[in-house]
Symmetry: C2
Subunit: 343 residues, 2 copies
Amino acid sequence: MTDQKLLLRALGGETLPVPPVWMMRQAGRYLPEYRATRAQAGDFLSLCYNPELAAEVTLQPIRRYGFDAAILFADILLLPQALGADLWFVTGEGPRLSTITDAAGVAGLRPVADIHETLSPIYETVRILSRELPAETTLIGFAGAPWTVATYMVAGRGTPDQGPAHAFKAADRAAFSALIDRLTEATVEYLSAQVEAGAEVIKLFDSWAGSLKGADFDDFALAPARTIITALKARHPGLPVIAFPREAGARYEGFARAVGADCLALDNSVEASWAAARLQPDGCVQGNLAPRHLVTGGPDLVAETRAICQAFSNGPHIFNLGHGITPDADPENVHRMLEAIRG
Amino acid sequence: MTDQKLLLRALGGETLPVPPVWMMRQAGRYLPEYRATRAQAGDFLSLCYNPELAAEVTLQPIRRYGFDAAILFADILLLPQALGADLWFVTGEGPRLSTITDAAGVAGLRPVADIHETLSPIYETVRILSRELPAETTLIGFAGAPWTVATYMVAGRGTPDQGPAHAFKAADRAAFSALIDRLTEATVEYLSAQVEAGAEVIKLFDSWAGSLKGADFDDFALAPARTIITALKARHPGLPVIAFPREAGARYEGFARAVGADCLALDNSVEASWAAARLQPDGCVQGNLAPRHLVTGGPDLVAETRAICQAFSNGPHIFNLGHGITPDADPENVHRMLEAIRG
C-alpha cells in the first residue's frame, strides 16, 4: 500500500508524470474552516495542544483539495517550551519566549527525557491523523532545525537578522554549541516519537540557515541536520527525510548528500533551472512556487506553476510553495494551481 | 591622478593587497552628525534636494572613516517623482507614492526630457562633491534599476513580495513593459547627467531582482541593465559600472558579462567562497559583510571581515556590506572593521 503513495514514490527517487503536491502552511488562516476551528480552540497554542482540533485543521485542506500529503499541525517552538522555555503568542506580532543568552541559561534547560511530558498531545494528534487520513495521503511530521529554534530561544522572538543568536555564538561559542547540541538531541527524540505515532516522512525546517556562512554553516546547519537524520534513520530504517536549509543559496549544492536527506525543499530564491541541473541529480526536490501567485492568481499563476513542473520534469519532484501560503491568498487560486499541475 | 584611486583600480580588474572599502548607506542614521544635519534640513526629501546639506552628509563618513568612495546622497524614488509621481515619506514607515497600475497611468507620466527640471539639485550635489572630496576618494553616482523602481511606483510603497508589480505584469505585460522602458530611458538620462556633473562610477541598485524568475528576470532585470549600461558606456567611454541584482541567487552567475558591468555587488545571501570561484573570474566583486556585525561587534566582526578579505584575495575586490548599515550600528565598530581590513 505504502508504495502507492505518490509522495513516497517521489521521495524514493521516482520520476512521476504528475508530481505529488502539498503546500507549506496549508492548514492556515486563508481557509475559513481553519479560522472557525481556531476560534473554537481559543488561541494558537491551545489549538496546537488540542489533538482533536489540531487533527481537524490538518485534515481540512486534505478534504478541500486532496493534497498528496498532510503535515502535522504544530509549531517549531513547542520543543523549546518542552525544554522549559516560557512561550506565548502576541496577536498580530508572533511568538515570544523567555530568553537564553548564556551558559547558565543553557544549563537551566530541562533534560531531554522530559520533553514528552509536554509534547504528548502532539503525538496524539499524529495518531489521530494516522487513522483518519485517506489511504493515498502521506503524513509528514516535522521540527525546526536546531539553529533556527535557537535563534528564537536566544532572542525571545523572531528577528530580521538573527542578531542575538549570532552575538551569543560570538561571545561564547562553547555555550552556544551546547545549546545546539541539546536541541539536536531533543529533536531526535521529538521526531522519533512522531514517527512511532505514525508520521511517515519527516521534514526539518531550518528557516534561518541562510544567515549562517562558512564554518558556522557547517557547524550549526549542516552538522546538526546530519546528526538528526542519521539517528532517525538508524532507529527507523527507510524513513524519508526532507531538509529545508532555507536561503542557503549556493550551500544548497551538495547539502542533501552531506546530511543524508532524501529531498531538498527549495525556497523562492532558488531558480528552478539551476536546481534541476545542480540539485535534482542528488535526489528529489520540493518546491517552489512563490506564495504571492496564490494571492494574485490569473495567467501568471498557471504559467509559473507549469514552468516549475516542466523544469523539474526529468527527475523526482514534489510540488510545493517556496514559503508558507499567506492569509490573504484566495482559496480558489489553490484549485487553479492544482488544475495546472494535474491537468 | 585618477588611476591612483584604489576603487577605480579594483574596478579596472586589479588585485590589490588591501581592498578599497565603502559601505552602503554610509551616510545614515547611525552617525550623530548625519542626524544633526538631517534635523537641520527638516525632512528626508528636503535633505535630498538641498545640495549643500546633501553634500555635507555625503562627506561626513569620508571625514570620519576615510572610505575609498563616497556615494551621492539621494534616493531611488526621486526619479519617479521627476516623472510625475507624487512622493512623500511617512516617518517610521517609509516612502509613499501615487500608484500606477495600468496603461493609462504609464501614458500619464511626464516625458523623459523633463526629469532634469526636478533633478537638477541632485546634479548640483554631485558638482559640490566633485570639488570637495579628497583626491583619493572616488565619487559614485547611482539609480534604482527599472524593475525595483517600478515595484514602488505600482504599489505606492515598499512591499514584502512585490505582489502589485507582479500582478500588473501578469495583467498587462505590454503596459508593464512600457513602464520598464520609460524607466530605462529615464535612468540613462539621469545617470548620464550625474556623470557629466562629476560622478566617476555608477551603481545600479536592483534591490528586488530576486523576485524575478526565468524569462521575467531576463526581460525586467537583465535586459534593462544591459540597455542602461550600454548607453552610458557609449556616452562616457571607460565609465565603470557596479551592478547589484540583489538576491538574484544563481542568476548572479554570468550577470556581469551579460549586462556589461565591471563589478557585481553581492548581497548577504551570497557565500564568499562561491562568489570567488564563480563570479570573480568575470571581474571585480563588491561585498559582503552582514550589517549585523556592525551592531554586535566583538571577535566575530573581525573574524568575518578578515574571512571575506581572504576569500576574495586572489582577484579584484571592493569591501562593502551586503546591505545598508542599520541605524543601531555602533560607529566604533566601523573603525574596528576598517582596522581588520587595512591592518
